[in-house]
Symmetry: C2
């Protein structure tokens, strides 16, 4: 894993350690992390702050030119909501830790011209597998299934 | 307009009155509003709280069964991010105030089986036209174009 996926994974672990859902994300512009975050369903009672959304929110209001020259790193394949946010802001490239435990809307991203790179990284898979085994109900709530 | 679009429009006006972007939304379950909100880009410096997202956030954590039996009302055609949130949670019906000033991802919603009802309501159009004329740069930032 490169240093940016390591940073996203560190966010995911922070989520796990604080009793939440271990999915993390960072947004990188010109080689610098401009926003980082993790799923806040438990910690903030949030229905919208998935890891990618939390990173976008923490990056703050940015001009279109910044988004259009950024890469979003996320430990897990992005759901429909996070995919839609990527499309809204025209982020051209997404690096995904893994899609083994959850397959998001990668085909939609690709169909709109977004470059999608799946690392299938073992540490990302192991973290989600452990979480899903421990908290299946919470996980299903997060993806709108329970 | 029915009373729920009136409530979404009241949220949009609240957004305008507080210096923000006048787009409002309510989520209705079993004939009751369970969440309401308006765009918070200016007020909270938020890159993710569009009107629909703010309504979802204010509805709090809900079980899938609630979303799947809800209707989302929004004064403006939903962008890719808000469309993705609707798809994530499986909200089956969206009532849209207007799509004259902005055409969102209505085709994507319909392609996934979501019922889309566009009212083309003059008060919603007039509010957005006034705002876009007054603050074109802020508007373009909100839809990822500037």
């Amino acid at each position: 894993m490169d240093k940016f996926m390591e940073a996203a994974l560190a966010e995911a672990k922070k989520g796990m350690e604080t009793g939440g859902i271990p999915i993390g994300s960072v947004i990188v512009h010109d080689g610098e992390i401009i926003g980082r975050g993790h799923n806040q369903r438990v910690q903030k009672g949030s229905a919208t702050l998935h890891g990618e959304m939390d990173a976008l929110e923490n990056a703050g209001r940015q001009p279109a030119a910044v988004y259009k020259n950024s890469v979003l790193y996320t430990t897990l394949s992005p759901c429909a909501m996070c995919t839609g946010a990527i499309l809204l802001y025209g982020i051209p490239k997404v690096v995904i830790g893994e899609n083994k435990t959850f397959m998001g809307e990668e085909e939609l991203l690709k169909s709109r011209g977004v470059e999608v790179n799946v690392l299938q990284a073992e540490p990302c898979i192991a973290l989600m597998e452990k979480f899903i085994q421990q908290s299946p109900q919470l996980w299903h709530e997060d993806i709108g299934c329970e």
